[in-house]
Amino acid sequence: MLNGPKFVEVSDLVRVFPTPEGPVRALDGVSFDVRRGEFLSVVGPSGCGKSTLAMLIAGLLRPTSGVITVDGRAVDRPQTDLGIVFQNAVLLAWRTALDNVLLQLEMRGIDPRSYRDRAWELLRSVGLEGFERRLPHELSGGMRQRVAICRALIHDPPLLLMDEPFGALDALTRDQMTLDIQGICARGGKTVLFITHSITEAVFLSDRVIVMTPRPGRIDSVVEVELPRPRRLAVRELPAFAGYVRGIRDRFMAQGVLRDIEEAPAP
Protein backbone atom coordinates (compact mmCIF):
# COMPACT_ATOMS: atom_id res chain seq x y z
CA MET A 1 0.00 0.00 0.00
CA LEU A 2 2.86 2.36 0.80
CA ASN A 3 4.19 1.86 -2.69
CA GLY A 4 1.11 3.26 -4.42
CA PRO A 5 1.30 6.50 -6.43
CA LYS A 6 1.33 9.78 -4.55
CA PHE A 7 -2.19 11.12 -4.13
CA VAL A 8 -1.72 14.13 -1.87
CA GLU A 9 1.55 16.06 -2.02
CA VAL A 10 2.36 18.76 0.47
CA SER A 11 5.56 20.71 0.04
CA ASP A 12 7.10 23.35 2.27
CA LEU A 13 3.75 24.44 3.62
CA VAL A 14 3.68 27.57 5.77
CA ARG A 15 0.60 29.12 7.31
CA VAL A 16 0.80 32.23 9.45
CA PHE A 17 -2.18 33.55 11.40
CA PRO A 18 -2.24 37.18 12.45
CA THR A 19 -3.11 37.57 16.12
CA PRO A 20 -3.19 40.60 18.44
CA GLU A 21 0.11 39.34 19.91
CA GLY A 22 1.70 39.23 16.47
CA PRO A 23 1.79 36.61 13.72
CA VAL A 24 1.68 32.96 14.77
CA ARG A 25 3.24 30.31 12.56
CA ALA A 26 0.65 27.54 12.77
CA LEU A 27 2.56 25.49 10.20
CA ASP A 28 6.19 26.01 9.35
CA GLY A 29 7.72 24.20 6.43
CA VAL A 30 5.65 21.04 6.41
CA SER A 31 6.27 18.53 3.61
CA PHE A 32 4.90 15.03 3.19
CA ASP A 33 2.81 13.00 0.84
CA VAL A 34 -0.05 10.56 1.11
CA ARG A 35 -0.10 7.53 -1.18
CA ARG A 36 -3.27 6.45 -2.90
CA GLY A 37 -5.22 4.16 -0.62
CA GLU A 38 -3.05 4.99 2.38
CA PHE A 39 -4.35 5.66 5.89
CA LEU A 40 -2.19 8.45 7.24
CA SER A 41 -2.59 9.91 10.71
CA VAL A 42 -1.29 13.22 11.96
CA VAL A 43 -0.83 13.15 15.70
CA GLY A 44 0.15 16.03 17.90
CA PRO A 45 -0.92 18.21 20.82
CA SER A 46 -3.26 21.17 20.48
CA GLY A 47 -1.59 24.06 18.72
CA CYS A 48 0.56 21.98 16.39
CA GLY A 49 -1.46 23.14 13.40
CA LYS A 50 -2.92 19.75 12.55
CA SER A 51 -6.45 21.08 12.04
CA THR A 52 -5.01 23.92 9.95
CA LEU A 53 -3.34 21.26 7.84
CA ALA A 54 -6.67 19.56 7.14
CA MET A 55 -8.28 22.89 6.26
CA LEU A 56 -5.44 23.70 3.86
CA ILE A 57 -5.67 20.34 2.10
CA ALA A 58 -9.44 20.81 1.77
CA GLY A 59 -8.76 24.18 0.14
CA LEU A 60 -10.83 25.91 2.81
CA LEU A 61 -7.80 27.97 3.89
CA ARG A 62 -5.06 29.43 1.71
CA PRO A 63 -1.45 28.72 2.67
CA THR A 64 0.90 31.60 3.36
CA SER A 65 3.40 29.77 1.17
CA GLY A 66 3.99 26.27 -0.12
CA VAL A 67 2.11 24.01 -2.50
CA ILE A 68 -0.49 21.29 -2.06
CA THR A 69 -1.60 19.03 -4.87
CA VAL A 70 -4.32 16.40 -4.77
CA ASP A 71 -4.29 13.83 -7.55
CA GLY A 72 -1.81 16.00 -9.46
CA ARG A 73 -3.93 19.18 -9.33
CA ALA A 74 -2.92 22.19 -7.27
CA VAL A 75 -5.30 23.02 -4.44
CA ASP A 76 -6.29 26.64 -5.00
CA ARG A 77 -9.99 26.55 -4.13
CA PRO A 78 -12.31 24.52 -1.89
CA GLN A 79 -11.95 20.88 -2.92
CA THR A 80 -15.16 19.05 -3.67
CA ASP A 81 -13.87 15.60 -4.48
CA LEU A 82 -13.48 14.63 -0.85
CA GLY A 83 -15.41 13.87 2.32
CA ILE A 84 -14.82 15.77 5.56
CA VAL A 85 -15.64 14.71 9.12
CA PHE A 86 -15.15 17.16 11.96
CA GLN A 87 -15.01 16.63 15.71
CA ASN A 88 -18.64 17.70 15.94
CA ALA A 89 -21.13 15.94 13.72
CA VAL A 90 -22.64 19.30 12.55
CA LEU A 91 -25.92 17.79 11.40
CA LEU A 92 -28.92 19.89 10.42
CA ALA A 93 -31.38 19.63 13.31
CA TRP A 94 -34.49 19.51 11.10
CA ARG A 95 -33.30 16.72 8.83
CA THR A 96 -33.51 13.02 9.55
CA ALA A 97 -30.36 10.92 9.60
CA LEU A 98 -31.11 9.86 6.03
CA ASP A 99 -31.72 13.40 4.80
CA ASN A 100 -28.58 14.64 6.53
CA VAL A 101 -26.60 12.08 4.55
CA LEU A 102 -28.36 13.15 1.34
CA LEU A 103 -27.52 16.82 2.01
CA GLN A 104 -24.12 16.08 0.43
CA LEU A 105 -25.89 15.52 -2.91
CA GLU A 106 -28.49 18.26 -2.65
CA MET A 107 -25.75 20.80 -2.04
CA ARG A 108 -24.10 19.58 -5.23
CA GLY A 109 -27.32 20.01 -7.18
CA ILE A 110 -27.67 16.23 -7.65
CA ASP A 111 -31.09 14.60 -7.34
CA PRO A 112 -30.81 12.80 -4.00
CA ARG A 113 -33.48 10.23 -4.93
CA SER A 114 -31.04 8.20 -6.98
CA TYR A 115 -28.80 7.92 -3.91
CA ARG A 116 -31.46 6.84 -1.41
CA ASP A 117 -30.63 3.16 -1.57
CA ARG A 118 -26.95 3.82 -1.14
CA ALA A 119 -27.64 6.10 1.82
CA TRP A 120 -29.79 3.41 3.49
CA GLU A 121 -27.05 0.89 2.88
CA LEU A 122 -24.34 3.14 4.31
CA LEU A 123 -26.37 3.89 7.42
CA ARG A 124 -27.01 0.18 7.87
CA SER A 125 -23.30 -0.58 7.46
CA VAL A 126 -22.47 1.65 10.44
CA GLY A 127 -25.17 0.10 12.63
CA LEU A 128 -27.88 2.74 12.16
CA GLU A 129 -30.53 0.42 10.77
CA GLY A 130 -33.89 1.54 12.14
CA PHE A 131 -32.60 5.05 12.90
CA GLU A 132 -32.74 6.38 9.33
CA ARG A 133 -35.79 8.54 10.04
CA ARG A 134 -34.67 9.86 13.41
CA LEU A 135 -33.76 13.50 13.95
CA PRO A 136 -30.29 14.31 15.28
CA HIS A 137 -31.55 15.15 18.78
CA GLU A 138 -32.97 11.63 19.02
CA LEU A 139 -29.55 10.08 18.37
CA SER A 140 -26.58 9.58 20.70
CA GLY A 141 -23.31 11.41 20.09
CA GLY A 142 -21.76 8.32 18.53
CA MET A 143 -24.75 7.80 16.25
CA ARG A 144 -24.64 11.42 15.12
CA GLN A 145 -20.97 11.05 14.26
CA ARG A 146 -21.79 7.92 12.26
CA VAL A 147 -24.33 9.91 10.27
CA ALA A 148 -21.63 12.53 9.62
CA ILE A 149 -19.31 9.80 8.38
CA CYS A 150 -21.99 8.46 6.03
CA ARG A 151 -22.52 12.02 4.74
CA ALA A 152 -18.78 12.19 4.00
CA LEU A 153 -18.93 8.87 2.10
CA ILE A 154 -22.22 9.01 0.18
CA HIS A 155 -20.66 10.54 -2.95
CA ASP A 156 -17.84 7.97 -2.85
CA PRO A 157 -14.94 10.44 -2.72
CA PRO A 158 -11.40 9.14 -3.16
CA LEU A 159 -10.14 11.24 -0.22
CA LEU A 160 -11.42 11.38 3.33
CA LEU A 161 -10.31 14.11 5.76
CA MET A 162 -11.11 13.41 9.40
CA ASP A 163 -10.31 16.07 11.97
CA GLU A 164 -10.46 14.46 15.42
CA PRO A 165 -13.67 12.68 14.49
CA PHE A 166 -13.86 10.78 17.78
CA GLY A 167 -12.75 13.68 19.98
CA ALA A 168 -16.18 14.21 21.50
CA LEU A 169 -17.05 10.55 22.08
CA ASP A 170 -16.75 8.31 25.15
CA ALA A 171 -13.99 5.70 25.25
CA LEU A 172 -16.13 2.66 24.41
CA THR A 173 -17.82 4.40 21.48
CA ARG A 174 -14.39 5.49 20.27
CA ASP A 175 -13.21 1.87 20.21
CA GLN A 176 -16.22 0.79 18.18
CA MET A 177 -15.91 3.74 15.80
CA THR A 178 -12.22 3.00 15.30
CA LEU A 179 -13.11 -0.53 14.18
CA ASP A 180 -15.90 0.75 11.96
CA ILE A 181 -13.64 3.29 10.27
CA GLN A 182 -11.06 0.62 9.63
CA GLY A 183 -13.71 -1.51 7.94
CA ILE A 184 -15.13 1.34 5.86
CA CYS A 185 -11.73 2.49 4.66
CA ALA A 186 -10.50 -1.01 3.85
CA ARG A 187 -13.63 -1.73 1.78
CA GLY A 188 -13.66 1.54 -0.11
CA GLY A 189 -9.95 1.76 -0.94
CA LYS A 190 -10.04 5.34 0.36
CA THR A 191 -7.07 7.61 0.93
CA VAL A 192 -7.49 8.92 4.46
CA LEU A 193 -5.92 11.78 6.35
CA PHE A 194 -6.80 11.30 9.99
CA ILE A 195 -6.09 14.06 12.51
CA THR A 196 -5.97 12.99 16.15
CA HIS A 197 -4.31 13.61 19.48
CA SER A 198 -4.61 9.96 20.47
CA ILE A 199 -1.39 8.02 19.87
CA THR A 200 -3.16 4.65 20.27
CA GLU A 201 -5.85 5.58 17.78
CA ALA A 202 -3.26 6.77 15.27
CA VAL A 203 -1.15 3.61 15.53
CA PHE A 204 -4.18 1.33 15.42
CA LEU A 205 -5.64 2.81 12.24
CA SER A 206 -2.66 3.97 10.23
CA ASP A 207 -0.19 2.82 7.65
CA ARG A 208 1.95 5.80 8.64
CA VAL A 209 1.81 8.26 11.51
CA ILE A 210 3.14 11.81 11.23
CA VAL A 211 4.25 13.18 14.59
CA MET A 212 3.94 16.97 14.85
CA THR A 213 5.60 19.48 17.17
CA PRO A 214 3.68 22.50 18.44
CA ARG A 215 4.41 26.23 18.02
CA PRO A 216 5.46 26.36 15.27
CA GLY A 217 3.81 23.28 13.78
CA ARG A 218 6.50 21.16 12.21
CA ILE A 219 6.89 17.49 11.36
CA ASP A 220 8.92 15.81 14.07
CA SER A 221 9.04 12.32 12.59
CA VAL A 222 7.14 9.83 10.49
CA VAL A 223 6.44 6.33 11.81
CA GLU A 224 5.54 3.43 9.56
CA VAL A 225 3.17 1.00 11.24
CA GLU A 226 3.74 -2.52 9.94
CA LEU A 227 1.00 -4.46 11.66
CA PRO A 228 -1.10 -6.90 9.62
CA ARG A 229 -4.65 -5.89 8.67
CA PRO A 230 -7.44 -6.15 9.52
CA ARG A 231 -6.47 -5.25 13.07
CA ARG A 232 -8.53 -6.47 16.01
CA LEU A 233 -8.80 -4.44 19.20
CA ALA A 234 -6.52 -6.95 20.91
CA VAL A 235 -3.71 -5.86 18.61
CA ARG A 236 -3.24 -3.02 21.06
CA GLU A 237 -1.88 -5.46 23.64
CA LEU A 238 0.84 -6.80 21.30
CA PRO A 239 4.45 -5.84 22.11
CA ALA A 240 4.92 -4.52 18.57
CA PHE A 241 1.93 -2.18 19.03
CA ALA A 242 3.25 -1.02 22.39
CA GLY A 243 6.59 -0.41 20.70
CA TYR A 244 5.06 1.97 18.15
CA VAL A 245 3.12 3.79 20.86
CA ARG A 246 6.22 4.10 23.03
CA GLY A 247 8.23 5.37 20.07
CA ILE A 248 5.75 8.18 19.43
CA ARG A 249 5.36 8.97 23.11
CA ASP A 250 9.14 9.30 23.40
CA ARG A 251 9.07 11.86 20.62
CA PHE A 252 6.55 13.93 22.59
CA MET A 253 8.71 13.54 25.70
CA ALA A 254 11.74 14.74 23.77
CA GLN A 255 9.73 17.77 22.61
CA GLY A 256 8.63 18.47 26.17
CA VAL A 257 4.97 18.00 25.25
CA LEU A 258 4.82 15.10 27.73
CA ARG A 259 6.74 14.99 31.00
CA ASP A 260 6.80 11.76 32.98
CA ILE A 261 7.16 11.68 36.77
CA GLU A 262 10.77 11.86 37.95
CA GLU A 263 11.11 8.27 39.11
CA ALA A 264 8.83 5.31 39.60
CA PRO A 265 7.43 5.06 43.13
CA ALA A 266 8.72 2.16 45.23
CA PRO A 267 6.56 -0.95 44.82
Binding site: A58, P78, Q79, V90, A93, W94, L103, G109
Partner: protein, 258 residues
Protein backbone atom coordinates in the same frame (compact mmCIF):
# COMPACT_ATOMS: atom_id res chain seq x y z
CA UNK B 1 -50.57 22.57 25.77
CA UNK B 2 -52.68 20.28 27.88
CA UNK B 3 -55.30 20.95 30.55
CA UNK B 4 -52.52 20.50 33.11
CA UNK B 5 -50.62 23.40 31.53
CA UNK B 6 -53.34 25.94 31.13
CA UNK B 7 -55.67 25.18 34.00
CA UNK B 8 -53.57 26.94 36.71
CA UNK B 9 -53.40 30.32 34.96
CA UNK B 10 -57.06 30.01 33.96
CA UNK B 11 -58.15 29.34 37.54
CA UNK B 12 -56.04 32.26 38.78
CA UNK B 13 -57.73 34.50 36.23
CA UNK B 14 -61.22 33.35 37.27
CA UNK B 15 -60.34 33.94 40.91
CA UNK B 16 -59.14 37.46 40.14
CA UNK B 17 -62.35 38.29 38.26
CA UNK B 18 -64.45 36.98 41.16
CA UNK B 19 -62.48 39.06 43.68
CA UNK B 20 -62.87 42.11 41.41
CA UNK B 21 -66.63 41.58 41.11
CA UNK B 22 -67.04 41.16 44.89
CA UNK B 23 -64.75 44.07 45.75
CA UNK B 24 -66.64 46.46 43.49
CA UNK B 25 -69.95 45.37 45.01
CA UNK B 26 -68.82 45.40 48.67
CA UNK B 27 -66.85 48.64 48.50
CA UNK B 28 -69.55 50.33 46.40
CA UNK B 29 -67.06 51.59 43.84
CA UNK B 30 -68.82 53.98 41.42
CA UNK B 31 -69.09 52.47 37.95
CA UNK B 32 -67.39 55.39 36.21
CA UNK B 33 -64.26 54.69 38.28
CA UNK B 34 -64.14 50.93 38.09
CA UNK B 35 -66.98 48.92 36.55
CA UNK B 36 -67.65 45.35 37.67
CA UNK B 37 -66.62 42.54 35.30
CA UNK B 38 -70.30 41.70 34.68
CA UNK B 39 -70.94 45.27 33.58
CA UNK B 40 -67.97 45.15 31.19
CA UNK B 41 -69.22 41.86 29.78
CA UNK B 42 -72.65 43.41 29.26
CA UNK B 43 -71.07 46.36 27.43
CA UNK B 44 -69.15 43.99 25.20
CA UNK B 45 -72.31 42.14 24.27
CA UNK B 46 -74.34 45.28 23.73
CA UNK B 47 -71.69 47.11 21.70
CA UNK B 48 -70.24 44.13 19.87
CA UNK B 49 -70.97 45.52 16.44
CA UNK B 50 -69.30 48.85 17.26
CA UNK B 51 -66.28 47.07 18.78
CA UNK B 52 -65.97 44.65 15.88
CA UNK B 53 -65.91 47.52 13.39
CA UNK B 54 -63.06 49.26 15.16
CA UNK B 55 -61.23 45.99 15.83
CA UNK B 56 -61.13 45.28 12.11
CA UNK B 57 -59.45 48.66 11.47
CA UNK B 58 -56.82 48.09 14.15
CA UNK B 59 -56.17 44.52 13.00
CA UNK B 60 -55.47 45.79 9.47
CA UNK B 61 -53.03 48.39 10.79
CA UNK B 62 -51.25 45.83 12.94
CA UNK B 63 -50.98 43.24 10.16
CA UNK B 64 -49.80 45.72 7.53
CA UNK B 65 -47.27 47.25 9.92
CA UNK B 66 -46.01 43.83 10.91
CA UNK B 67 -45.82 42.65 7.29
CA UNK B 68 -43.82 45.75 6.41
CA UNK B 69 -41.49 45.12 9.33
CA UNK B 70 -40.87 41.56 8.09
CA UNK B 71 -40.46 42.63 4.48
CA UNK B 72 -37.94 45.32 5.41
CA UNK B 73 -36.31 43.76 8.48
CA UNK B 74 -35.28 40.39 7.06
CA UNK B 75 -33.57 41.74 3.91
CA UNK B 76 -31.73 44.36 5.99
CA UNK B 77 -30.57 41.62 8.35
CA UNK B 78 -29.34 39.57 5.38
CA UNK B 79 -27.47 42.57 4.01
CA UNK B 80 -25.83 43.11 7.40
CA UNK B 81 -24.76 39.46 7.64
CA UNK B 82 -23.48 39.18 4.08
CA UNK B 83 -21.80 42.56 3.67
CA UNK B 84 -19.22 43.74 6.19
CA UNK B 85 -19.39 47.18 4.61
CA UNK B 86 -23.14 47.49 5.13
CA UNK B 87 -22.75 46.13 8.63
CA UNK B 88 -20.21 48.77 9.54
CA UNK B 89 -22.14 51.53 7.78
CA UNK B 90 -25.62 50.94 9.17
CA UNK B 91 -25.61 48.51 12.11
CA UNK B 92 -24.28 50.99 14.71
CA UNK B 93 -26.74 53.64 13.51
CA UNK B 94 -29.57 51.16 13.66
CA UNK B 95 -28.73 50.20 17.22
CA UNK B 96 -28.23 53.85 18.15
CA UNK B 97 -31.56 54.81 16.59
CA UNK B 98 -33.32 52.60 19.11
CA UNK B 99 -32.52 55.12 21.83
CA UNK B 100 -34.96 57.48 20.09
CA UNK B 101 -38.31 56.85 21.75
CA UNK B 102 -40.47 56.06 18.76
CA UNK B 103 -43.59 57.02 20.61
CA UNK B 104 -42.15 60.52 20.91
CA UNK B 105 -41.71 60.88 17.16
CA UNK B 106 -45.08 59.28 16.38
CA UNK B 107 -46.94 62.65 16.36
CA UNK B 108 -44.47 63.92 13.79
CA UNK B 109 -44.95 60.83 11.65
CA UNK B 110 -48.70 61.19 11.77
CA UNK B 111 -48.30 64.85 10.87
CA UNK B 112 -46.15 63.94 7.84
CA UNK B 113 -48.08 60.91 6.66
CA UNK B 114 -51.51 62.46 6.87
CA UNK B 115 -54.86 60.84 7.56
CA UNK B 116 -56.16 57.32 7.16
CA UNK B 117 -54.68 53.90 7.65
CA UNK B 118 -51.14 54.43 6.43
CA UNK B 119 -49.70 56.66 9.21
CA UNK B 120 -50.77 54.08 11.84
CA UNK B 121 -49.23 51.31 9.75
CA UNK B 122 -46.04 53.36 9.65
CA UNK B 123 -45.88 53.72 13.43
CA UNK B 124 -46.59 49.98 13.86
CA UNK B 125 -43.81 49.22 11.37
CA UNK B 126 -41.25 51.55 12.94
CA UNK B 127 -41.83 50.24 16.41
CA UNK B 128 -41.65 46.57 15.40
CA UNK B 129 -38.95 46.13 12.75
CA UNK B 130 -35.94 46.41 15.03
CA UNK B 131 -36.30 43.11 16.94
CA UNK B 132 -36.77 41.33 13.62
CA UNK B 133 -33.45 42.68 12.33
CA UNK B 134 -31.54 41.92 15.51
CA UNK B 135 -32.85 38.38 15.89
CA UNK B 136 -32.44 37.55 12.20
CA UNK B 137 -28.83 38.75 12.28
CA UNK B 138 -28.15 36.62 15.36
CA UNK B 139 -29.88 33.63 13.74
CA UNK B 140 -28.06 33.87 10.42
CA UNK B 141 -24.78 34.10 12.30
CA UNK B 142 -25.53 31.08 14.48
CA UNK B 143 -24.55 28.57 11.78
CA UNK B 144 -21.53 26.58 12.92
CA UNK B 145 -18.41 27.48 10.91
CA UNK B 146 -17.83 23.77 10.25
CA UNK B 147 -21.23 23.57 8.57
CA UNK B 148 -20.23 26.40 6.23
CA UNK B 149 -16.91 24.65 5.53
CA UNK B 150 -18.85 21.51 4.65
CA UNK B 151 -21.16 23.47 2.36
CA UNK B 152 -18.14 24.79 0.46
CA UNK B 153 -16.59 21.34 0.24
CA UNK B 154 -19.89 20.18 -1.25
CA UNK B 155 -19.45 22.78 -3.98
CA UNK B 156 -22.51 24.79 -2.96
CA UNK B 157 -22.71 28.50 -3.68
CA UNK B 158 -23.97 31.19 -1.33
CA UNK B 159 -27.55 30.92 -2.60
CA UNK B 160 -27.97 27.21 -2.01
CA UNK B 161 -26.17 27.46 1.32
CA UNK B 162 -28.61 30.17 2.36
CA UNK B 163 -31.71 28.23 1.34
CA UNK B 164 -30.68 24.82 2.67
CA UNK B 165 -28.62 25.74 5.72
CA UNK B 166 -28.45 29.36 6.81
CA UNK B 167 -32.08 30.41 6.67
CA UNK B 168 -33.54 27.27 8.31
CA UNK B 169 -30.86 27.48 11.01
CA UNK B 170 -31.90 31.07 11.69
CA UNK B 171 -35.64 30.32 11.90
CA UNK B 172 -35.83 29.83 15.69
CA UNK B 173 -34.22 33.24 16.22
CA UNK B 174 -36.31 34.82 13.49
CA UNK B 175 -39.48 33.59 15.18
CA UNK B 176 -38.31 34.94 18.53
CA UNK B 177 -38.02 38.31 16.80
CA UNK B 178 -41.39 37.97 15.08
CA UNK B 179 -43.14 37.27 18.38
CA UNK B 180 -41.74 40.42 19.96
CA UNK B 181 -42.43 42.39 16.78
CA UNK B 182 -46.09 41.39 16.43
CA UNK B 183 -46.76 42.46 20.02
CA UNK B 184 -44.99 45.77 19.46
CA UNK B 185 -46.93 46.24 16.25
CA UNK B 186 -50.18 46.28 18.25
CA UNK B 187 -48.69 48.95 20.52
CA UNK B 188 -47.64 50.97 17.47
CA UNK B 189 -51.08 50.89 15.88
CA UNK B 190 -52.76 52.04 19.10
CA UNK B 191 -50.23 54.84 19.62
CA UNK B 192 -50.91 55.98 16.09
CA UNK B 193 -54.65 55.95 16.71
CA UNK B 194 -54.25 57.85 19.99
CA UNK B 195 -52.54 60.68 18.19
CA UNK B 196 -55.01 61.12 15.40
CA UNK B 197 -57.76 58.81 14.25
CA UNK B 198 -61.45 58.61 13.57
CA UNK B 199 -61.65 54.84 13.81
CA UNK B 200 -59.87 51.86 15.38
CA UNK B 201 -59.80 50.47 18.90
CA UNK B 202 -57.46 53.20 20.13
CA UNK B 203 -59.96 55.77 18.90
CA UNK B 204 -62.86 53.84 20.50
CA UNK B 205 -60.95 53.78 23.79
CA UNK B 206 -60.35 57.55 23.72
CA UNK B 207 -64.00 58.20 22.82
CA UNK B 208 -65.23 56.04 25.71
CA UNK B 209 -62.88 57.84 28.11
CA UNK B 210 -64.04 61.22 26.90
CA UNK B 211 -67.65 60.47 27.87
CA UNK B 212 -66.60 58.55 31.01
CA UNK B 213 -68.08 55.34 29.63
CA UNK B 214 -65.61 53.25 31.62
CA UNK B 215 -67.44 50.00 30.83
CA UNK B 216 -66.95 50.48 27.11
CA UNK B 217 -63.36 51.61 27.72
CA UNK B 218 -62.61 48.38 29.56
CA UNK B 219 -64.40 46.42 26.87
CA UNK B 220 -62.12 48.00 24.25
CA UNK B 221 -59.04 47.18 26.34
CA UNK B 222 -60.13 43.57 26.61
CA UNK B 223 -60.70 43.28 22.87
CA UNK B 224 -57.33 44.93 22.29
CA UNK B 225 -55.61 42.40 24.55
CA UNK B 226 -57.38 39.61 22.70
CA UNK B 227 -56.07 40.98 19.40
CA UNK B 228 -52.53 41.01 20.81
CA UNK B 229 -52.86 37.48 22.14
CA UNK B 230 -54.36 36.21 18.88
CA UNK B 231 -51.49 37.70 16.86
CA UNK B 232 -48.92 36.16 19.17
CA UNK B 233 -50.63 32.77 19.09
CA UNK B 234 -50.82 32.90 15.28
CA UNK B 235 -47.05 33.45 15.04
CA UNK B 236 -46.48 30.74 17.64
CA UNK B 237 -48.62 28.25 15.71
CA UNK B 238 -46.79 29.04 12.50
CA UNK B 239 -43.51 28.49 14.34
CA UNK B 240 -44.65 25.10 15.62
CA UNK B 241 -45.60 24.11 12.10
CA UNK B 242 -42.39 25.31 10.50
CA UNK B 243 -39.81 24.29 13.08
CA UNK B 244 -41.21 21.35 15.04
CA UNK B 245 -37.62 20.11 15.34
CA UNK B 246 -36.55 23.00 17.51
CA UNK B 247 -35.79 22.30 21.16
CA UNK B 248 -38.55 24.58 22.43
CA UNK B 249 -41.25 22.42 20.81
CA UNK B 250 -40.06 18.95 21.68
CA UNK B 251 -42.76 17.05 23.47
CA UNK B 252 -40.52 15.72 26.25
CA UNK B 253 -39.76 19.29 27.24
CA UNK B 254 -43.36 20.44 26.97
CA UNK B 255 -44.40 17.58 29.26
CA UNK B 256 -42.26 19.13 31.98
CA UNK B 257 -39.22 17.80 33.75
CA UNK B 258 -40.79 16.99 37.10
Amino acid sequence: MTWRDWSPPLLTLVAMVVVWELAVALLRVPEYILPAPRGIAAAMVKEWRYLAQHTWITVQEVLLGFAMAVAVGIPIAMAIVYSPLIERAIYPLLVGSQSVPKIAIAPLLIFWAGLGLFPKVLVAFLISFFPIIIDTVVGLRSVEPEMLHLARSMGAGAGRTFVKIRFPTALPNIFAGLKVAVTLSVVGAIVGEFIQADRGLGYALLQANAVMDTRLGFAAIIVLSAVGIAMFVAVDLLERRLIPWHASHRSELAAGTL
